[in-house]
C-alpha cells in the first residue's frame, strides 16, 4: 500500500513562516487604525456629536470589538507557541522530587504554561501522585491550570489593561499555592481512591522538544481559530453591554449592592460555583458587574470561581478522590477565592 494519499506537511513550512510574518504586519497596521476609524465612523459617518452618550457608546463599541479580537488572537497565538515547549510529561518531570512549598510555587507557575484541559484532570492526577509528587503539589497544579485561563487573561488585558490582567494571574497563583499547601499539610493520602495507589505509571513520551517551528505555528494557528470561533459571540455581547452601560448608568449607582460591602464577595462566589461556563461565557457578566460599579476584587472573584471550580471537572475527579477530599478541595478553593476577592477590594 504505497499509494495512500498522504498530504505533505513539510513543504508548507516556508509558506507558513511567511504567513506569520504577514499576519504580524497586518496586525500592527490594524491595531493602529482602529481608534481613528472608530472615531471617524461614530462622529463623522454617523454624524453623532462628540461627548454624546450614543456617539461615545458607538465609538467605544467600534474601537473595542476589533481591539479585543486582535489582542485575543495575538495573545492566544503567543501563549500557544509558549505552551508547545511544555507538556504535562515535562511538567511531571520538573515537579518530581520537589517538596511541599517550593513544589507548590513551581506547580502553580507550571499550571499557567502547561497545556491542560479539565477532561485530563484524572490521568494527570494519577500520573503525578503515582510518580511520587506530593498530593498538595499536585493540587496546586490542578487548581492553577484552570483558574489562570488564557482566554480570560486576554480579555481582561484587552478590556482593563495589564495591571488588572497581572493581578488576575498573581491572585490565581496565590490561590493555587495556598490551597495546595493547605491540602498537602493535612496528609490526606487515605482520602484518595485506593485503586490510584495500586496503579503503575511509567514515564510517558515527551514530544515537546521534538516539534519543529512549523508544528508550533500550525498548533498556535489552530488554537486561535478554535478559540475565536468559540468565543466571538460572547465577546461582542460583553463589549455591547459595556458600551451600552458605559456612560448611561451613574457609575456608583450599584456600588452599595455589588461593591465593597462585606457580603458581596461571598455572594458572587457562591453564585458562580454552580455556573459552568468557559471564560468567554462569563465575560459579558463580568463587564456588566464592573460597569455597574462592582468592586474589582468582587468581579475577579466571580470570574475565578466560574472557571476554577467546574462541575464537570469535579465529577471527573470524583473517580479518583473520595467524597471527603472532593468537598475539602471545593471548600479550600472557594475560601481562597473569597479571601483574594477581599484582599483586592481592600488594596484597590
Amino acid at each position: 500500500m504505497t499509494t495512500l494519499p498522504v498530504p505533505s506537511v513539510k513543504s508548507d513550512a516556508h509558506r507558513n513562516y511567511l504567513l506569520v510574518l504577514l499576519s504580524m504586519v497586518l496586525w500592527i497596521f490594524a491595531y493602529s487604525v482602529i481608534q481613528p476609524f472608530a472615531n471617524w465612523a461614530a462622529y463623522r459617518a454617523l454624524n453623532l456629536p462628540q461627548g454624546s452618550h450614543l456617539g461615545d457608546a458607538i465609538s467605544f463599541f467600534l474601537y473595542d470589538v476589533p481591539k479585543i479580537f486582535l489582542l485575543l488572537s495575538g495573545m492566544i497565538f503567543l501563549i500557544t507557541i509558549l505552551r508547545t515547549f511544555f507538556s504535562p510529561e515535562r511538567t511531571r518531570q520538573l515537579l518530581g522530587g520537589k517538596r511541599q512549598g517550593i513544589g507548590n510555587v513551581l506547580a502553580g507557575m507550571l499550571g499557567i504554561v502547561t497545556p491542560f484541559c479539565s477532561c485530563s484532570a484524572v490521568p494527570l492526577f494519577i500520573g503525578f501522585v503515582e510518580s511520587g509528587i506530593p498530593l498538595g503539589v499536585t493540587f496546586s497544579f490542578l487548581i492553577a491550570a484552570p483558574v489562570i485561563n488564557e482566554v480570560a487573561l486576554a480579555l481582561l488585558f484587552g478590556m482593563y489593561g495589564w495591571k488588572i490582567a497581572g493581578l488576575y494571574v498573581v491572585s490565581g497563583l496565590i490561590i493555587s499555592i495556598v490551597a495546595g499547601l493547605i491540602i498537602g499539610s493535612l496528609h490526606l493520602e487515605s482520602w484518595v481512591e485506593d485503586f490510584v495507589w495500586k496503579m503503575v505509571y511509567r514515564a510517558a513520551e515527551d514530544d515537546s522538544g521534538k516539534l519543529t517551528w512549523n508544528d508550533r505555528i500550525l498548533r498556535a494557528g489552530e488554537a486561535v481559530r478554535e478559540i475565536v470561533v468559540k468565543v466571538w459571540l460572547y465577546v461582542i455581547i460583553g463589549i455591547g453591554i459595556g458600551a451600552a452601560i458605559h456612560g448611561y448608568v451613574p457609575v456608583d449607582a450599584l456600588t452599595g449592592l455589588m461593591g465593597k460591602t462585606w457580603w458581596s464577595v461571598p455572594l458572587v462566589v457562591l453564585m458562580a460555583l454552580p455556573l459552568y461556563s468557559n471564560a468567554a461565557g462569563m465575560f459579558p457578566i463580568m463587564v456588566a458587574l464592573i460597569e455597574k460599579g462592582a468592586a474589582l476584587g468582587t468581579a475577579l472573584a466571580f470570574m475565578m470561581a466560574v472557571v476554577g471550580v467546574s462541575l464537570p471537572e469535579t465529577v471527573l475527579l470524583r473517580r479518583v478522590l473520595k467524597p471527603k477530599l472532593i468537598a475539602l478541595f471545593i471548600g479550600v478553593v472557594t475560601l481562597s477565592i473569597i479571601i483574594t476577592g477581599y484582599l483586592f477590594n481592600i488594596i484597590l
Binding site: 495512500l4 494519499p5 498522504v6 477532561c119 490521568p123 500520573g127 505509571y201 511509567r202 510517558a204
Partner: protein, 83 residues
C-alpha cells in the same frame, strides 16, 4: 485490519477526535475498527498524562490534543506501512 483506540472519558475533545479518526479512516478507505476506551485503569496502561489519546494498533501516536484530520491520515498511513 487496524484497530484505532480513542482514549478519554468522553469529553468534547475525545468525541471530536473519534469523529476525525473516522473521517480519516474513510478518507483512506481503510478497514479499521474504532474503539473508545473510557475507563481510567485501561487508559493509564498507555502511560498518558493528558487525554484525548490516539492509539493505532496498540501504539500511542498522540496525546493531550486533537490532531488534525491530515495528521491522523499520516498516522494511519504509517501504521499501514508498519503492518
Amino acid at each position: 485490519m487496524l484497530t484505532i483506540k480513542i482514549l478519554g472519558s468522553g469529553c468534547e475533545n475525545c468525541k471530536r477526535l473519534a469523529y476525525l479518526a473516522e473521517r480519516a479512516r474513510n478518507h483512506l478507505g481503510l478497514e479499521a475498527q474504532i474503539v473508545k476506551v473510557t475507563e481510567y485503569p485501561e487508559i493509564m496502561k498507555y502511560n498518558i498524562l493528558s487525554t484525548p489519546g490516539l492509539v493505532i494498533n496498540e501504539k500511542l501516536v498522540s496525546a493531550g490534543r486533537v490532531p488534525s484530520e491530515s495528521e491522523i491520515v499520516t498516522f494511519l498511513a504509517e501504521a499501514v506501512e508498519r503492518a
